[in-house]
């Protein structure tokens, strides 16, 4: 291949400089995103591990109903235990200027210093004052986002009692890395994020102990025990010893924090898949744009190509020249994007980690990432450019030299016209637009696909958010028939519950439950599991079965689908559960979708094995005409009650409104940006191709506004089809992310909301029209004479 041919080809390519640059920009964005995200994840993994070390995160956590502290003093002496901390954790509310009754995670700790495990690192001020138990510590990011400083005054409300406190310290904590709920409670509390509405505060433990004391039993109690292990010890042995120290006090659940860490890392792996999906989407869009740009280059230089062929250059030589130059441009673009993407990704992840009180560590990016980027970047361009350059084969030199159109004119009425005629559309604009689209079906198809991809991604984002929030309320309405959910501070027996509720006339019925942590042997391995003992055939709570059936006889057990998947168990699996002093073999007969990652057994059967009645909470049905909120307040005021929640409170969205809005807006924004790039590129090319026709129309007397309306009409028609196709595309994308979403909500189902669909459709049309404005503006300055003289019509 001669240098002259390459030089000529280079000029031909750069005759469409703007479109080439826009195409390469999309390639740049694709490579940048891929490399940046790939740089972020290793840093996140390493940083999370480092953070766990810095804050002395627990390896094991026990949540109990209440345990006297002197009863568990022996835990620190167990071989293999590096550190122990205990605290009293309750849900309450705080009020401060601008925020009335803000939900709060309230941790009761010893004043004076940080706990040994799950440290609190002072950012400002001091630790809790041992001489003044009306001081509190506030988490740093919550403090900064709510304007709280040292000396700020707040009102704490817990167990129905209010008291004033003063902020003496602002701390860094990684409490948010634990499950976002009070595991004592049956239903998740509203989701918590660093900037969310739930305040993490620390207070002198004696305050909570004093307020919760009912006059019997020990006063110095805790309900959370956090243990850190020394390396090299058998963790199962240690946990068994710890549980033995706590016995006979019942526990709610246990948490292996290393399991939590691995589930966080599992989310990162799912995010890895999302990276490929997202980057792949950008490369797909870039390929569309490259295809149309190269098509335009070839078409506009058809005469030059015809002359080149007539001079004796082969088709393959001409094609190779195009591909070599385009490949070089793409390679240069990729080589620029890679060294920008990596530090860019690290910078982004550093900012994200700071938001979660973590410091970014250094982590190497896998060399595979660079190789993939170097292959996919130029490769996608070459693949997209190959097909339009192949058209050179069909160019006849004589026709090309004369400037005759290479594309065959369409003959015959199009399907769209037939449909239009049948439904009464007779307007000339419609006919003209659909005929022109038929002339270049590929371009029209690319435009439609580009729009549908953009709208589909936006639709997916809003569908996910909508489904996320409605899935829970939909589940609750269908399967939970109670009005109130009541948790007790400590397990009660039936007569205690009866005497508690009998004076309240607005309670029509109630069903008891017990939440209990216990050990189980599953497939030969001993695991700590959470058990929910309920009346499985009761009227106030029903199950949504994924597979299997209800409990029909003794020794049968149900499990939540998320837990089943993580443990690798299925129907008919055997589990040996320890209840009381017995170990009983249970058979798994049903797998259910539920808000909790627990096993379910029959309440009566559990009481038999435990040898006593233990009721940690009840489902309550109020009488006809009663207001559940009022009844909830009445119940909450009872001494033994820790929390009383109505069904609507329990059904509130898992995502806060601002989080949901941010996700939906973010995804829609990205989607519209891609759509804008595609539509701008293709409409610009389309307008350039049709300039002779448009000039002819103006010569015939069509005003420029009418020409602009033709352009807008084409965009509207194409957008309409794109939006229709975007529905299945949106659902396809949503389905691809299903597994990811179901790690948060097992019963998650994407929802179709007509208003949302209309909103996305409107936004899509608006964006498409916006993208066609540059082309429309060019219409206003066509040189009619020049264009008509250079005729390209027939």
């Amino acid at each position: 291949m001669t240098g002259t041919l390459l030089q000529k080809t280079r000029k031909e390519i750069f005759s469409q400089r703007g479109k080439v640059i826009s195409s390469l920009t999309l390639v740049f964005i694709g490579v940048f995103c891929y490399v940046a995200f790939s740089a972020m994840l290793p840093v996140m993994r390493v940083s999370v591990d480092a953070t766990y070390e810095t804050y002395a995160s627990p390896d094991f956590m026990v949540v109990a109903y209440s345990v006297p502290r002197d009863h568990i003093s022996g835990i620190g002496s167990i071989d293999g235990v590096e550190g122990v901390a205990s605290r009293y954790h309750v849900f309450g509310e705080v009020s401060f200027p601008g925020h009335d009754k803000n939900p709060a995670d309230i941790y009761g700790i010893d004043p004076g210093s940080s706990p040994d495990v799950f440290k609190l690192i002072l950012s400002e001020g001091t630790y809790l004052d041992p001489l003044n138990n009306r001081t509190i510590l506030v988490e740093r990011s919550f403090a900064s986002s709510n304007g709280l400083v040292i000396g700020s005054e707040m009102t704490v409300s817990v167990f129905g009692i209010e008291f004033d406190v003063e902020v003496v310290g602002i701390v860094n904590s990684i409490e948010h890395l634990l499950p976002h709920r009070n595991p004592k409670q049956l239903i998740d509390a509203p989701s918590r994020a660093t900037f969310s509405s739930i305040a993490p505060i620390w207070i002198d433990i004696s305050v909570l102990q004093e307020l919760s004391y009912t006059g019997t039993g020990e006063k110095d109690i805790v309900n959370e025990i956090l243990v850190r292990f020394e390396p090299g010890y058998n963790q199962t042995t240690i946990t068994n010893l710890i549980l033995a120290e706590i016995a006979p006090y019942p526990i709610v659940t246990t948490l292996g924090v290393s399991d939590l860490r691995s589930s966080e890392l599992q989310r990162f792996e799912i995010a890895d898949e999302a990276i490929f999906l997202f980057s792949g989407l950008i490369f797909t869009v870039a390929s569309f744009v490259v295809y149309t740009t190269v098509s335009r280059i070839i078409q506009s230089n058809s005469r030059a190509i015809g002359i080149t062929k007539s001079l004796g250059y082969s088709d393959s030589a001409i094609q190779r020249a195009y591909l070599i130059l385009l490949g070089i441009l793409a390679l240069i673009t990729t080589l620029i994007a890679i060294p920008i993407g990596e530090p860019g990704g690290r910078a982004i992840v550093s900012e994200i980690l700071i938001m979660f009180s973590m410091n970014a560590q250094t982590a190497a990016i896998s060399p595979t990432v660079y190789i993939v980027a170097l292959v996919v970047g130029p490769g996608s361009v070459l693949a997209a450019a190959y097909f339009p350059t192949r058209k050179i084969v069909g160019y006849e030199p004589i026709r090309a030299i004369r400037g005759s159109m290479m594309e065959k004119g369409y003959v015959g009425e199009t399907i769209l016209e037939k449909i239009g005629r049948r439904i009464g559309i007779r307007g000339y604009g419609f006919k003209y637009v659909v005929r022109s689209m038929s002339l270049n079906k590929t371009r029209a198809a690319l435009l439609i696909v580009g729009i549908s991809l953009g709208a589909g991604v936006a639709f997916m984002g809003t569908s996910i958010v909508s489904g996320y929030n409605t899935s829970l309320s939909s589940y609750m309405n269908q399967y939970e028939q109670w009005d109130l959910l009541v948790d007790f501070k400590a397990p009660l027996n039936l007569s205690q519950v009866e005497s508690l509720f009998s004076p309240i006339s607005s309670i029509a019925a109630y069903e008891p439950y017990l939440k209990l942590g216990t050990s189980a042997i599953i497939s030969g391995d001993e695991k700590l599991v959470s058990l929910l003992c309920i009346n499985t055939l009761g009227t106030l709570h029903h199950f949504k079965f994924e597979s299997g059936r209800e409990i029909e006889s003794a020794h049968e057990i149900l499990v939540d689908v998320t837990l089943a998947n993580s443990m690798g168990i299925d129907l008919n699996s055997k589990l040996n559960l320890t209840l009381g002093n017995s170990t009983i073999a249970f058979t798994l007969v049903g797998i259910v979708s539920s808000p909790l990652d627990v096993f379910y057994i029959e309440f009566a059967e559990a009481m038999d094995y435990l040898g006593q009645e233990m009721i940690s909470g009840v489902f309550v049905k109020v009488t006809e005409g009663s207001n559940p909120d009022v009844v909830a307040e009445t119940v909450f005021a009872l001494d033994d009650v820790e929390n009383s929640m109505t069904k609507s409170q329990a059904s509130s969205g898992v995502l806060s409104e601002s989080q949901g809005t941010a996700i939906a807006v973010g995804m829609a924004g990205i989607a519209m940006a891609l759509l804008l790039a595609v539509v701008w590129n293709i409409v610009s090319i389309s307008t350039s191709e049709r300039t002779p026709e448009l000039a002819q129309l103006e010569a015939l007397g069509w005003p420029r506004n009418s020409l602009t309306r033709l352009l807008i009409l084409e965009v509207l028609i194409v957008s309409f089809f794109g939006i229709i196709i975007s529905i299945p595309i949106g659902y396809l994308f949503t389905g691809l992310l299903d597994n990811f979403m179901k790690t948060y909500i097992p019963f998650y189902t994407p929802s179709f909301d007509f208003v949302m669909f209309l909103s996305i459709g409107t936004l899509t049309i608006f964006t498409a029209i916006l993208a066609s404005i540059p082309a429309a503006r060019k219409l206003r300055s066509i040189d009619i004479n020049r264009v008509i003289r250079e005729r390209l019509m027939t």
Partner: protein, 235 residues
Amino acid sequence: MATSTSLVQIEDLKKEYTLGETIVHALRGVSFEIMKGEFIAILGQSGSGKTTLLNMISALDVPTSGKVIISGTDVSKMSRDERTNFRRKSTGLVFQFYNLFPTLTAVENVEIGIALDIKDKHELRRRALHYLELVGILDKADNYPSQMSGGEQQRVAIARGLAKEPPILVLDEPTGNLDAETSDAIWALLKELNTKTGTTIIAVTHQTSVSKVANRSIFLRSGKVYGISESGEEE
């Protein structure tokens, strides 16, 4: 057939273009008058300025100086949009390369020239078919340009120009892309239309034989009129 009513008045028309650093004087002060119903041929070699002159008459372009008065209206001072409007109502245009829309049939190509002004779809179709019949190509009404010969396409372009029933039909080298026999047929058609409809026809061509059918021929050289001859006379 000429009448005494003046339709087009060209007064000291000048047009200059800048090509790089060179100023091209395409028209150097052209003046003449065209009467209603006349068939005028504008002749000249390449670069004589005939196409530029045609652009002024058809309001596609504006002069550097001078006036173009058509039906009493000075189009040389109009804005782009005003000229577009004027063109739609008052001028039929036919170009050398027919400039038909390849995706439209013959009848649709005629309709698109008048679609903005005639909203009644039946009237639109009736008029388009009428003028296709007038130019002798009614049987090709539903054919696409790729299914017609050059002469047939040019007839469609002429029908499109006539369909708006303009006072002036302007043709730029209408037979430039046709063989001799077809060219003669087109000129004969134009003469017939001029006689039948009374439309004033102004045709730019380099074919001197056109002067036989035209009422008058205006000869241009180097941007100036160097001769005007009556029908049948050749310069």
